[in-house]
């Protein structure tokens, strides 16, 4: 188990969980979001092989209505 933070919420994940697994878990379409891992943008082509570790901080953002 590893404890990580997504969008300010603390969650526990299995060992060797990848960003792609996170997207699957929350039913998110990779083409409709952008991800920051520990303050740095993670390019889409790295979602698959980027394994998460304890205390990682993830921000997942999307477009919403705005002016």
């Amino acid at each position: 188990m590893a404890k990580i933070q997504i969008n300010g919420r603390k969650i526990a994940i299995k060992q060797n969980f990848s960003i792609l697994d996170i997207l699957k878990k929350y039913k998110l379409n990779r083409k409709k979001v952008a991800i920051e891992l520990n303050g740095k943008i993670l390019p889409q082509d790295r979602y698959n092989n980027k394994k998460l570790k304890n205390n990682d901080k993830i921000e997942i953002v999307q477009f919403i209505g705005g002016g």
């Binding site: 969008n7 929350y26 409709k32 979001v33 997942i60 953002v61 999307q62 477009f63 705005g66 002016g67």
Partner: protein
């Protein structure tokens, strides 16, 4: 007659009306209003995904980014760091480079912080972004933004969401006169005629959100804005008559009955 083209950087748009996608009752209403406005560019905000609600509807499912040009904004950012972070993330979602920069300086008026705005414009331009900049109606700042490489200058008509219309026509005119890049009125438009006035003055475009979304019938108001912008543009191109301080009869005096 030369074709009237609305071009920002290298992008060509059919409509000179840009619409915001916030403040609507729901995404269904947003989509209908956007369609009825005839706009081909929409502004969008960047926010955290709600991971607690997997079924929350997505803007992208209602407004197809392949059909509408998404212009990501930095709404809610009060400093350069947050604005840069937001726009870099936005670029990652869509791959777009055209963005709307707005850095607010005060929570009550949502007035732009021009020092942070100028600084951030410079960084974004250097990173290859095409930046449409929300700014004060100060002609000097507008010119500085252009010199820094902004793709469009977007002065406010009045504070965001106020619906007060253009408050300083003189400044807006000076900005239009001095600018080689498009001038788009952003913020403060209250009703369709405000958009017509802006376009008649020679603005290249108008950005509207609240005036449509908060109208009693947003879809109908969106259509009103579509025609208001077309009307104002045509009137500007046609060139208004000279103002006189005396009357001038429209019917000939010749052949009067008595």
């Amino acid at each position: 007659m030369k074709k009237d083209i609305f071009k920002i950087d290298k992008e060509i748009f059919k409509s000179r009306l840009i619409v915001g996608t916030g403040k609507y009752k729901n995404l269904g209403e947003t989509a209908k209003a956007i369609k009825s406005s005839g706009a081909d560019m929409v502004t969008v905000a960047v926010r955290r995904v709600n991971i607690a609600d997997k079924k929350k509807p997505l803007l992208m499912d209602y407004i197809n980014p392949k059909k509408f040009f998404y212009l990501p904004n930095t709404a809610g950012c009060f400093n350069s760091k947050d604005a840069l972070r937001t726009l870099r993330l936005a670029r990652e979602i869509g791959g777009w480079k055209m963005v709307k920069l707005e850095i607010l300086g005060d929570k009550k008026t949502l007035y732009p912080d021009m020092i942070e705005t100028l600084k951030t414009t410079q960084v974004l331009v250097r990173e290859g972004f095409k930046v449409l900049v929300y700014c004060t109606d100060d002609p000097l700042h507008a010119k500085k933004l252009e010199d820094l490489g902004a793709s469009a200058i977007m002065p406010l008509a009045a504070p965001i969401g106020s619906g007060l219309g253009i408050h300083n026509k003189l400044n807006i005119s000076l900005i239009i006169e001095n600018s080689k890049v498009p001038v788009i009125i952003d913020a403060g438009i209250g009703t369709a005629s405000d958009a017509t006035i802006a376009m008649e003055m020679g603005c290249d475009g108008v950005l509207v959100n609240s005036a449509i979304a908060l109208a009693k019938k947003p879809v109908q108001m969106a259509e009103a804005f579509k025609y208001a912008v077309i009307s104002g543009r045509k009137s500007f191109l046609a060139g208004r008559m000279k103002k006189n301080n005396f009357a001038s009869a429209s019917s000939p005096k010749q052949g009067l009955i008595s």
